[in-house]
């Protein structure tokens, strides 16, 4: 029944191996066929799995083999499919497939076409392992795998050293979180004796009372991993720089799938977090703080991809907020709709960039509405969903999150207020983008309009971004039943109304110019604030000053490596002894024979006179 589940990750892996081992010697058509085909086959299998899941109505699982068996620690390589995994699988393979199709045209002129698809396939493989894993260790394998692919793909155009620096930043910053997560895993294993999700949860519930300090520490460490991977406060600085990668990469890895792995992790271990209210509240605070910070930053940016990156950080902040207030299903729902509309936005942005010869600055664009209709409509729909305008997919998910936040026992109205402010800002910056890029005077002449291979995924994603809100994700068996938000009349009206207000504000400021904001922005405070927000609350400066520079200074001081002195001393002693022993190597046969005889005499003497040897 569930025997074919292993094929879902295996096919992209085989695609990767094929493309990787042929070293780009295949014709491009074949590369695209392999790269897209493997993901398409996986998507088909996911569809099959979904049908089976719908019929059986119970989780599927399959164990491939025992990975290690040592000292009572025997993690299996086994896959587990429940509603949550299935949702993630559908997003990964579905959105992944569309992005692969899109890339087959977008990347066509690149000389490393094959390398691109091999990395993309490897990423899909790692991501599928991540969500299919039924224990934390296997999840961690996928977790590191996607981190590696993120590094490889951000630095895809490695001829430019800035891209390499961005890739390293992405890798190292997420590594900080991963280390925390690994320590959390050790802690959980040390206390619970297993890393399989179901037994681990059961053991935790039976072993620890609610709010136990060790559990809280473990949860916070897991949260650290999630924060790093999902670019949340305080480890969010890598994501905007990660936009150095090709646009489809940004769409797939840095919007739709990998950055949401942290959300998935917390959702998967939600039973642990439920036992630790402090950790759960921390999740909510981080989500709320991040969404607000990123939203303010997004308003001031002028690189089209960086705006989208900050909006991604902000949206994942919403997911964290939802997790923190216990609205698990809403969080995953928002994850899915976000994957749709953010992939759509990135791909549409990619189409714009593609047509404008890699122009990223939105102030050099304008009036593209007529020239690039597909991109325009995609952007419009995507922005509407992002801003959560009524009846788009984003509306349903974000509305549910905000209402749940309001209902939360701990600081509910405050979290709701922050989320609402964030929603207002979201609609302002997303429509600012639309108005500046697609309306107003024409500033550039686009060339090479996107072909149908790029247009078709956009259209499908448009459809999903519009009607995705009506999809019912099958996660009710996974999460504890949420107390349905009591629709407080006023709250239920204010929440959806705010984005519309935001759009109107954006219209008045950026399109009709009825409100002149120049007195504010030109004032001293406004300029300072603008610069502060533009630099993303000076986070990079902060890290640079307090971590990077001291570390570099320490490395400078220690460049002779104090610890090495000891080992160099050992090496010197050995070398000295070696030089002395070399003297005995005379190169003369007779000396060697003589020494052998001496040894023979000695050994015989020992054997005879130590009582061991007796005459026959």
């Amino acid at each position: 029944m569930a025997d074919y589940i292993y094929l879902i990750p295996l096919l992209p892996l085989m695609g990767f191996l094929l493309l990787f081992t042929t070293l780009g010697n295949l014709p491009k058509a074949l590369v695209a066929l392999v790269g897209v085909g493997s993901v398409a086959s996986s998507a088909m299998l996911v569809l099959l799995t979904a049908l089976e899941f719908m019929t059986l109505r119970e989780p599927l699982s399959t164990t491939l083999y025992t990975w290690i068996n040592v000292g009572g620690f025997s993690p299996f390589v086994s896959f587990y499919v429940d509603g949550l995994t299935l949702t993630m699988l559908s997003v990964i393979t579905g959105v992944g497939l569309l992005i692969h199709i899109y890339s087959s045209l977008f990347m066509l002129d690149d000389k490393d076409y094959s390398r691109f698809f091999s990395y993309m396939n490897l990423f899909v493989f790692a991501m599928l392992v991540l969500v299919l894993a039924d224990n934390l260790l296997l999840l961690f394998v996928g977790w590191e795998g996607v981190g590696l692919c993120s590094y490889l793909l951000v630095g895809f155009w490695h001829e430019d050293s800035a891209n390499g620096a961005a890739a390293r930043k992405a890798f190292i910053v997420t590594r900080v979180g991963d280390t925390a997560m690994a320590i959390g895993m050790f802690l959980l294993f040390a206390h619970l004796g297993t890393l399989d999700f179901a037994p681990m949860t059961a053991a935790a519930i039976s072993q620890w009372p609610e709010g136990s300090p060790i559990l809280t520490i473990a949860c916070l460490l897991l949260l650290g991993g999630a924060v790093g991977k999902s670019a949340q406060l305080p480890l969010q600085t890598w994501l905007p720089d990660a936009m150095a990668g090709p646009t489809p990469v940004s769409a797939l890895i840095h919007a739709a799938t990998m950055v949401t792995a942290g959300v998935y992790l917390i959702a998967r271990t939600h039973d642990l977090f439920l036992l630790s209210p402090f950790a759960l509240n921390t999740v909510a605070v981080i989500g709320a703080a991040t969404l607000l910070m990123a939203a303010f930053t997004a308003i001031t940016q002028h690189d089209i991809k960086r705006i989208l990156a900050y909006s991604t950080i902000s949206q994942i902040g919403y997911m964290f907020l939802a997790l923190g207030v216990g609205a698990w299903a809403s969080s995953i729902f928002h994850l899915m709709t976000h994957a749709f509309f953010k992939a759509l936005l990135f791909l549409a942005a990619g189409a714009v960039i593609y047509s404008l010869h890699h122009e990223h600055n939105i102030f050099k664009m304008g009036g593209l509405r007529k020239k690039l209709p597909v991109a325009f409509w995609s952007f419009l729909i995507g922005s509407a969903a992002l801003a959560a305008l009524p009846f788009t997919s984003g509306f349903y998910s974000k509305d549910a999150i905000l209402l749940s936040a309001y209902e939360n026992a701990w600081q509910g109205p405050l979290l709701w207020g922050i989320g609402l402010l964030g929603a207002l800002l979201t609609s302002i910056y997303s429509f600012r983008l639309v108005f500046i890029v697609f309306f107003g005077e024409v500033k550039t002449e686009p060339s090479q309009p996107a072909g149908w291979l790029m247009a078709a995924p956009l259209l499908v994603l448009c459809l999903l971004a519009l009607v995705g809100g009506f999809i019912v994700i099958p996660v009710m068996d996974v999460f504890p039943a949420a107390t349905g938000p009591a629709h407080d009349g006023l709250i239920a009206i204010i929440t959806p109304a705010v984005p519309i207000v935001g759009v109107v504000i954006a219209y008045l400021i950026f399109l009709s110019h009825s409100i002149d904001i120049s007195p504010w922005t030109d004032s001293k405070i406004g300029k300072a604030l603008n610069r502060f927000w533009f630099s993303h609350w000076a986070m990079d400066w902060l890290y640079d000053t307090f971590i990077v520079k001291p570390y570099a200074w320490m490395a400078h001081v220690n460049r002779m490596d104090i610890v090495d002195w000891f080992y160099n001393f050992t090496a010197d002693v050995v070398r000295f002894l070696h030089d002395q022993t070399t003297q005995s190597q005379t190169g003369q046969l007779r000396t060697y024979a003589g020494v052998m005889v001496l040894g023979l005499a000695a050994i015989t003497a020992i054997a005879l006179f130590s009582g061991g040897g007796t005459a026959p």
């Binding site: 003589g594 005499a601 015989t604 026959p616």
Partner: protein, 185 residues
């Protein structure tokens, strides 16, 4: 008792000729003493009841292998100069330390052998038994020995080639050109 007397005579001959073989300055003389020693060994083999081994000792050891030495000595054609060179190479004081080592080993052997007195079995093990054993349980050893001989053949052929130059092209003690010029004569 005749056998016992013959054994001690053969043993004495063997020891004396071996000592002489090791101490000669002239290689050809040493070789003659070595052959005598081997023939004495053959007699001992016969006396202890191993006639087949005695025959092999004479035919192969004293015959074939020693003839190889004779050929090599002829090939090198050392003559009188070889004796002179040997006086330089073999100086009396070089005997001291090796002799000491060998005396130690000798004492150890004597110590091992002194404790008990056992006589040899009087059975004569003839060629037939040897053959049956050889191609019965020991057939694998025979195969290995044949491989070893083949390897020796190939090695000797390879090493014996006249213009065997150093592949690493490291200068040798004597210029190669001079040597090969010598060979052409």
């Amino acid at each position: 008792m005749l056998e016992l007397g013959l054994f001690y005579i053969a043993a004495t001959v063997s020891l004396i000729s071996t000592v002489l073989a090791v101490t000669r300055y002239n290689a050809a003389h040493a070789l003659i003493y070595l052959i005598i020693s081997l023939l004495a060994s053959a007699i001992i083999f016969y006396l202890v009841g191993a006639p087949f081994a005695a025959v092999l000792e004479v035919v192969i050891y004293a015959g074939a292998i020693m003839v190889l030495f004779v050929f090599v000595i002829m090939l090198l054609n050392l003559g009188q100069s070889g004796d002179v060179a040997e006086h330089v190479l073999l100086r009396p004081r070089m005997w001291i330390i090796p002799s000491l080592l060998c005396v130690i080993l000798f004492v150890e052997i004597v110590y091992v052998l002194q404790s008990s007195e056992s006589l040899l079995n009087g059975m004569v093990v003839g060629p037939k038994e040897v053959g049956l054993e050889l191609f019965g349980p020991y057939v694998l050893a025979v195969e290995i020995a044949s491989m070893l001989l083949l390897a020796g053949l190939v090695g000797a052929y390879h090493l014996g080639r006249r213009y065997f130059t150093d592949v690493r092209d490291v200068p040798t003690a004597q210029p190669l050109a001079a040597v090969s010029g010598d060979d052409h004569e």
